[in-house]
């Protein structure tokens, strides 16, 4: 069986005895960043390199990916859109808001947005969700991959604004951007603790795993927003 669907829209394909991760290409014939296009049973797939994508690495690390065909996703730290393009593949009938701060990388991202109908680009600072609150509506999933020292805080304030009740937060924590010398294990522990109790929204961490060997000193994390029913 050469093609196996691991999760909604995410496939494992066997090509030339090598297993690779792929998504169904939404815009057939177009390779976004030079990745390989594979046609299997009249369906075109795009190879997904886990070394270039935290989300891809999380799939291979057996995370349960809460993305579905019709999810709405807020993607913080979209960069030039390598991973965003695969998210856009997965969300055939969904929508992804791609927030990126740097004008330089936004330039590349915009070319992707021109091609794909389900990406909404936002040039803004993820620290200031007020600045894009008029654009973004409630989302099912927040995916965050920002190299900022206050990653947990960014995740929390954005969740407060935009995440549906019981929505999922997917986080890639880079220990190096919090402290270059401290031990990653300790930083991860602190960050997880912060998420669980540190802010006025609380999270229930469902899964956490380091993303090596694909990404060194990164922790992948899936959490669900915990809603306090007392109020």
């Amino acid at each position: 069986m050469p093609v196996e669907e691991l999760s909604d829209g995410i496939f494992r394909i066997n090509v030339d005895d090598r297993e690779m991760l792929a998504t169904k290409n939404l815009m057939s014939g177009i390779s976004v960043y030079g990745e390989r296009l594979i046609v299997e049973e009249d369906v075109e797939y795009r190879q997904w390199d886990p070394n270039r994508s935290k989300l891809g690495a999380m799939v291979l690390k057996n995370f349960e990916i809460p993305l579905h065909y019709d999810s709405a996703v807020l993607y913080l730290g979209a960069a030039s859109g390598t991973t965003v393009s695969h998210v856009s593949d997965i969300l055939r009938d969904g929508l992804v808001y791609a927030v990126e701060f740097s004008p330089r990388t936004m330039r590349d991202l915009l070319q992707l947005c021109d091609q794909r109908p389900n990406i909404i680009p936002i040039l803004a600072d993820a620290n200031k969700p007020q600045s894009y609150a008029h654009i973004v509506e409630k989302v099912d999933v927040i995916f965050q991959d920002v190299a900022q020292p206050n990653q947990a805080e960014i995740a929390a304030i954005n969740s407060k604004y935009f995440l549906e009740q019981h929505g999922h937060l997917m986080l890639s924590i880079k220990s190096r951007s919090i402290d270059t010398v401290a031990s990653p294990k300790r930083i991860f522990k602190e960050e997880v603790q912060k998420l669980e109790t540190g802010f006025d929204v609380e999270f229930e961490v469902l899964q956490r795993k380091e993303l090596d060997p694909f990404h060194e000193d990164h922790l992948g994390l899936v959490a669900r927003m915990f809603v306090d029913d007392e109020e």
Partner: protein, 307 residues
């Protein structure tokens, strides 16, 4: 309504509902399509407005560095290559490239040319026609790189003259442009403390100092100005400090007023001369500098607190 995006008042506004209520759009799908188009357009216009004067100068400075790196490499190659045919030619760099592109084979050097004797007596091997053509093209390309470099340089001088006249006046256009490039923008340079300006470009030495027991760097990229480069070693630290403070002053004047202020230059010259006359001869070294802070006996190094 779609474009007026930044205010906190919009925070609680349901834009979709408002658009439908006011009959701006009829269907949800219509809103989705419109939202996407507006976002793309907004991002594009913000990106194009991001291309400011200092961005252009930064690109030019970096292009200059790229050309320097490449032209050095190519000219070394030309020296090696052409040297086989005319080893007596004692030219390097641009003169060599000009020579090769004009004459090609040394047989083409006219009698009137000062190098003629050397050319006719050379021990180098003969240059075949194909090789000569190739070398000439190669040298011609190198020449055009040198031309481009001069072009960029004059562009920077001109652009700096209008963007940062005071900075150009104090530090020189090229050094000023380099400082802007390393700071990221004129605004950032203007907001740096002058102690940072003093050591921009000496990151390795600075962090080595902060981490361990090496002496702090006296100057970063500002060393490239004659004020410091031509100064005797015992004045350099002092000059660098006051030079950096004047650079900060100039950058701030440029960023916040945009007007040229000749008094900065006058004050700087006065100050620098005072330092030069106050320290005419090298200080006697009391003990061998071990590099340990504290053992150097100069309390001045520690003033200003931690950075």
């Amino acid at each position: 309504m779609q474009e007026s995006g930044q205010g906190a008042a919009l925070q609680d506004l349901d834009l979709r509902q408002a658009a439908i209520d006011s009959c701006f759009v009829e269907l949800d799908e219509e809103y989705d399509i419109l939202l996407r188009e507006v976002c793309i357009r907004a991002a594009k216009s913000r990106i194009s407005s991001n291309d400011t004067d200092d961005r252009r100068i930064i690109q030019a400075v970096q292009a200059l560095d790229d050309i320097d790196r490449n032209s050095n490499e190519l000219s070394e190659r030309l020296l090696e290559w052409y040297g086989a045919y005319f080893p007596e030619l004692e030219l390097t760099g641009e003169p060599l490239a000009r020579f090769v592109s004009t004459f090609g084979s040394r047989a083409n050097v006219p009698e009137s040319h000062p190098i003629f004797v050397k050319a006719s007596m050379s021990m180098g091997s003969e240059l075949s026609f194909a090789d000569e053509e190739l070398l000439r093209t190669f040298a011609l390309n190198l020449c055009s790189l040198y031309d481009t470099r001069r072009h960029i340089e004059s562009y920077i001088v001109k652009a700096m003259g209008s963007l940062a006249p005071n900075l150009s006046d104090i530090a020189g256009a090229l050094l000023g442009a380099r400082l802007i490039s390393m700071a990221g923008s004129l605004q950032k340079l203007a907001s740096f403390p002058s102690s940072t300006v003093q050591v921009i470009g000496a990151h390795r030495a600075l962090f080595k100092h902060l981490r361990g027991n090496t002496p702090p760097p006296k100057h970063g990229i500002i060393f490239n100005n004659v004020v410091i480069k031509n100064a005797p070693w015992w004045q350099r630290g002092k000059l660098a400090r006051s030079f950096a403070s004047k650079i900060s002053l100039a950058a701030r004047t440029d960023f916040y007023t945009g007007k040229r202020d000749p008094s900065i230059r006058e004050n700087m010259d006065k100050k620098l001369n005072a330092i030069r006359t106050a320290n005419p001869s090298p200080p006697k070294r009391e003990s061998k500098p071990t590099g340990k802070p504290g053992s150097r006996g100069k309390s001045r190094n520690k003033k200003g607190g931690r950075r």
